[in-house]
């Protein structure tokens, strides 16, 4: 893997050593382990891999559960993220920066703690326990709890992605749409959303990857019930604990495959994002330089 030539490119011994070290670390920590997951998963052939996934009802259920929990969590996140980013990017109000730092709490809190916090609130002995029991709503140890925990840990991903983009685009196109008679929804669908679509997609892809792979918070709220509340990562762990390594690796390979798809999607989206921000910047700097000239012209 040769180093990409840069303006100061010269193959000094130091740069060669640094590149070698970087390649070594990436290889040892990422490429080799990932490859070995796939190797182990397919060691007995594709048929065995497929059977490990499809013929075990608990594994089937885990895949199904992950495929339902993650999209719901991501959908909640998307709605919340767009609304919150819009609020923060378009309005100035007391407590605004505090609110922005609160968006980051899920990143700084250990997922296990987040899961425990949810149990403390929604569990049978929890704050809302009696109310939920009276309503006969089950949250902890069931599907809604999984969604809650997953939503919590992925909360910052969409909103964090959108705030800088919305701030750099500015409110003027939206105001123009309003002055042309558009309603709030029309402004959102026809102006705001198309402008933030790549950033939004980026956030969604990241949130989805995180949601699929979430272990800690989900572990606590799920109760780890096979065939009921086990998601894919939990299933991987359980199979591994039960010395069923091939089956465990098969499920793991699905997760790893999802990661690779995410990586490609992320790469494609990031290129679009960069292209758009370059365009925006070019338009801005052109306008600014002309503005500057005008001011000078007016003074002279």
């Amino acid at each position: 893997m040769p180093a990409k030539p840069t303006t100061t490119a010269s193959s000094t011994p130091l740069s060669v050593a640094l590149v070698a070290a970087a390649v070594g670390v990436v290889g040892l920590l990422i490429v080799v382990p990932l490859a070995s997951v796939f190797y182990e998963a397919f060691a007995r052939g594709t048929k065995a891999w497929w059977e490990a996934l499809a013929h075990d009802p608990d594994t089937r259920h885990a895949i199904w559960l992950s495929l339902t929990v993650a999209p719901v969590a991501v959908a909640i996140n998307t709605v919340f993220g767009v609304a919150a980013a819009w609020l923060v990017a378009r309005f100035r109000f007391p407590g605004r920066s505090l609110l922005i730092s609160f968006f980051d709490v899920p990143f700084s809190v250990s997922p296990v703690v987040a899961g425990l916090a949810l149990v403390l609130i929604f569990g049978r002995q929890g704050l809302l326990g009696p109310t939920l029991a009276w309503l006969d709503w089950k949250i902890i140890f069931s599907w809604p709890g999984l969604v809650l925990a997953t939503t919590f840990v992925t909360l910052p991903l969409v909103v964090r992605e959108l705030i800088p983009v919305m701030e750099s685009i500015g409110p003027e196109e939206e105001m123009a749409a309003v002055s042309l008679g558009a309603s709030g929804w029309q402004v959102f669908w026809h102006v705001t959303l198309p402008n933030i679509r790549w950033a939004l997609l980026h956030g969604i892809v990241l949130a989805n990857a995180r949601a699929m792979g979430e272990f800690g918070a989900v572990y606590v709220v799920s109760g780890h019930i096979a065939g009921a509340t086990d998601t894919m990562p939990l299933r991987v762990e359980k199979l591994f604990q039960e010395y069923r390594q091939p089956a465990s690796m098969a499920v793991a390979s699905v997760l790893a495959g999802l990661a690779l798809i995410t990586l490609v999607a992320k790469f494609v989206i990031e290129r679009r994002l960069e292209a758009e921000s370059r365009e925006l910047e070019a338009a801005r700097s052109l306008a600014d330089s002309l503005d500057h000239n005008n001011v000078e012209g007016a003074v002279a």
Partner: protein, 360 residues
């Protein structure tokens, strides 16, 4: 449609952007809000558009109170400073936007957009994206988009600010012709006095959230109401002198000022525009009469049809700027070069007695 602004006040936090501003825009007028940045001109424009709401005061259209009416219902065309074109839509869709949100039938949309593309001379460019247009073209798309909804009022925020000089002048003349054709009440904001004077029927000069002067371009230029207007309208020589018995003194030269007939001398500022000063060869007679000021030439620069001369009056360290037509300078029987002696005669001057504390 006429617009009446009644004692509008608007603050952003502790910053007072508009301070009890009243303004009438008669039907069919093209009015310029002229002022430096931070003077409140853009805030006033946005309040008229319904994009901002005043803390106090009223906005009326043809006598109807529309203060509380949202921008969406005001039927106002607004052209933003950096155009704010919808970047992901084609030129056609940009112009069509206001019609589409009104659920206009497709063929009518197409007809109206084609008509507007013709009006702004962008036929055949409907399929382009805003990023594929030049600044002047974007400006015209923004204008077409604002006009598509057949607004009753057209508002433009620094409409030519982001264009280069040549395009700016062309577009300005074009906009003036367009206004004469359509006859729509229009208000535009600018910090460029040339733009305001060339384009507008009325010029409103603003400073610190207040209106300093409101009048026709000739009015404002020839009879600036305040020192600020005088200063803002460009290059001016300021002299701190005194006034007494109906006369102000500029470097010892008397200037009639009947507004102050009192014997008690007061401080006064005398403003002279460079083009309102005359140069002549220094003659003993003129000096003795005290009607012209002996000075030495410091610098001379020729800017096309105008020659700018920087002079220093004898016995003063002040610099005076004199603009004379280059043609006149040529026949002036003085060798205009640094060190040359000249006599400066004011053709016209304005006297302001500073301070609102002025009480007789």
């Amino acid at each position: 449609m006429s617009i009446h602004v009644r004692e509008i006040t608007k603050s952003f936090g502790s910053y007072r952007a508009l301070d009890s501003v009243s303004l009438d825009v008669p039907d069919g007028t093209l009015l310029a809000l002229l002022g430096p940045s931070g003077s409140g001109k853009t805030t006033l424009l946005r309040i008229i558009a319904g994009l901002e709401f005043p803390d106090e005061g009223l906005i009326e259209e043809d006598g109807e109170d529309i203060t509380e009416r949202h921008a969406r219902q005001r039927e106002v065309g607004f052209v933003f400073q950096h155009y704010a074109l919808f970047r992901h839509m084609s030129v056609f869709e940009n112009i069509a936007f206001g019609l589409r949100v009104r659920k206009t039938p497709n063929d009518e949309v197409r007809r109206r957009v084609e008509e507007l593309l013709h009006l702004v001379r962008l036929e055949g460019l409907g399929g382009r994206k805003p990023s594929q247009l030049s600044g002047g073209q974007r400006q015209r798309v923004a204008l077409a988009r604002a006009l598509a909804i057949r607004p009753k009022i057209l508002l433009l925020d620094e409409p030519f600010g982001a264009l280069d000089a040549k395009v700016r002048v062309e577009l300005r003349q074009w906009l003036r012709r367009l206004h004469d054709e359509i006859g729509m009440t229009s208000v535009f904001v600018t910090h460029d006095q040339e733009e305001a004077f060339e384009l507008a029927d009325r010029v409103v000069v603003m400073n610190h959230g207040k209106i300093e002067q409101n009048g026709t371009p000739d009015d404002v230029f020839d009879h600036p109401a305040t020192p600020f207007v005088m200063d803002f309208l460009g290059n001016v020589n300021v002299y701190h002198g005194r006034v007494e018995n109906g006369r102000a003194f500029w470097h010892g030269i008397p200037i009639d000022y009947p507004e102050y007939p009192h014997a008690q001398a007061r401080e006064a500022r005398v403003y002279l525009r460079p083009h309102e000063l005359e140069l002549s060869p220094p003659t003993a007679v003129a000096n003795r009469l005290g009607t012209s000021l002996p000075a030495s030439v410091l610098r001379v620069s020729r800017a096309g049809a105008i020659t700018r001369v920087a002079c220093q009056p004898h016995g003063s360290d002040q610099e005076l700027h004199v603009d004379i037509p280059t043609e006149t300078a040529r026949h002036l029987q003085i060798n205009l070069e640094p060190g040359a002696h000249v006599a400066i005669t004011p053709r016209r001057a304005r006297v302001f007695i500073p301070g609102p504390e002025y009480v007789i």
